[in-house]
Symmetry: none
């Protein structure tokens, strides 16, 4: 292995991955405009032209990160639906399980989540799409008689997104709650509101 100039001989894909990771952290903490290519490459111990070897532009790397988040989230949302009915678990348990998976993903990919779910303009589209999927799920449950058909499920699903958003930021990312527990509490809150005993 050639070790002369520290980076010489490094695997190109390693440099690319490194830049991507550092960029995620930078964007997550300083936002798109607050992040400078010069800072990213400095932290990666690379130079600016090298950055452009792997990415078209600042927008491009940002978009790549958003897409990464979006794909994974879509996958998890879909998986959550597919798993429904696979076993004999009750509905709440199934919902909680899907949510827990998502929150675990968020937890393990904080920077990516901040970018894709909070900072980027596309986050609106992403959330909208997620809300729509949730709404469809809920409506199919209504048809099966599980939920009150008078409830506006569009409101519920959007509300759920809002709660997930907020609690991800204030409880999950602060380390105050584990994904599993947080998912459980959210599900209960939406199922029963504040008037039911919590021991169930």
């Amino acid at each position: 292995m050639n070790l002369r100039g520290r980076k010489k001989g490094a695997n190109g894909q390693e440099s690319r991955a490194l830049l991507l990771k550092i960029a995620a952290d930078e964007f997550a903490h300083h936002g798109f405009h607050g992040t400078k290519i010069s800072s990213i490459v400095k932290k990666a111990q690379l130079t600016q032209p090298t950055f452009y070897l792997y990415f078209e532009s600042k927008e491009a790397i940002y978009q790549e990160l958003v897409d990464l988040f979006h794909e994974k989230l879509s996958f998890l949302t879909k998986k959550s639906r597919l798993e429904e009915g696979l076993d004999s678990h009750s509905l709440p348990i199934q919902i909680k399980h899907g949510l827990a998976n998502i929150l675990t993903f968020f937890m393990e990919n904080q920077s990516l989540t901040r970018i894709g779910f909070f900072i980027s303009p596309q986050s609106e589209v992403i959330k909208k799409q997620m809300a729509k999927q949730i709404e469809e799920n809920l409506l199919s449950e209504v048809e099966k008689g599980y939920f009150n058909p008078n409830i506006d499920m569009s409101m519920v699903s959007e509300g759920l997104i809002g709660v997930i958003e907020r609690l991800t930021l204030t409880k999950l990312f602060q380390g105050e709650k584990e994904p599993e527990a947080l998912a459980r509490e959210i599900v209960f809150l939406f199922l029963y509101g504040m008037n039911v005993p919590r021991e169930c």
Copy 2:
């Protein structure tokens, strides 16, 4: 009257207010970095030096807008609490009323709300503060026996903030719901979850 230099002799406070209003719209739509002083003054049919006649800097006018939002919101949150118990209204109605006032304020000040509640870095502090006030209110209700003491009211209040956030953006600002109706639905959702009949 000489109208060549159209703005000459205008009222200074009008110019200031105009700049503030336009700035709010610009910041709301393009964010802090995406907003250029040159655009603001162009829309106000003024020039850049005039901007600096009324505002210290780009940061300063931004902060002024955030503060404006923060003050109004704090006022409404506090008023909402003071009004409690003044009459014989039931708790849900009181809560709904306070929330409706806030949503009305949001609705009537969309740009300001986007800035203070969504875009600015301080929005986190503002929400945190609002969540804390809500939590205190809820805890005092718990003591009076209105709510189940097993519920983690910090979760509920943060969740409520999340729901407000999200529905403000997706329902209120989209013109799909009126403040009053939205407040009612949010309150019901939090009180009873999805399992109660909505006719109450």
Copy 3:
């Protein structure tokens, strides 16, 4: 007397004189570029248009101050020469007397002196002119046999200017020496250098 708007009814010449005085202090302390018209008028409790009522431009008021200094200094330098021979005083005493008058003027007009003798580009011309007059004086003394004809009087006169410059700044303006005493020491220094007893 009309006292409604504090400055209303003020004598125009008073405002002008006030501006001139404040401008001198500002220019003296911050230099030409470092001085802002806005600061001058603020200290005079006037407004910018008022400034332009009395002065053509920033350059104009600056020039007026330089001219003021120049005229007074020229007058003193000439007077110093005219007085020569009027009485029976010895040459050193005459020289000392003229110099003391100049230093007294400097002391009593510090800001003006800083501007005209140190800061302004014209100061070079002013000093050059002063040096020339001194040189002429010295040469006429040489002809009368008072000084050694081998001395380069252009060097001496320029040197004298340098000494006056420096000691004005470091001794006179610092309050360490009085004009009279300073003049005496300078004259001795130039007459005898460092090798003569100072008791004479």
Copy 4:
């Protein structure tokens, strides 16, 4: 070789040195405020961003020039002292020698000297420091019995600075005197004043 973008691939330190040199000339001729970064880079056939590649700010490059001057002058002043007594030269010759070295440095670095000794605000500190060193030297000579102890050496040293200042500008920089000759004349003037034969 591609010569379209003439400067591409040039040596960075050369560009830096070039900018520094041009900046020195510009500051020397137009002062700090009168000098524009745009002029400096234009003369260097570079662009503004390149300037900021090598210097933090306009202030920074100015300060660098002042420091450069200050360091060299301090070095020369100290060297001048150290050399004293190294050989059997008489005191006047030693003093003259040290002064000649300084004047030679001034002559060979006119722009730097104008900046560090005349234009910059720090010039006062620099001169003060130089005056103090000279004074110390003189006082040590007084103790050895070389000079009259009644003379105020603080006056002499400050005066000497003034003479150096002035003659540097009017004789040295005008090309009327060589450093060596100028140093000689200054020393004689201070040693003997105007009353001694100059043939010594």
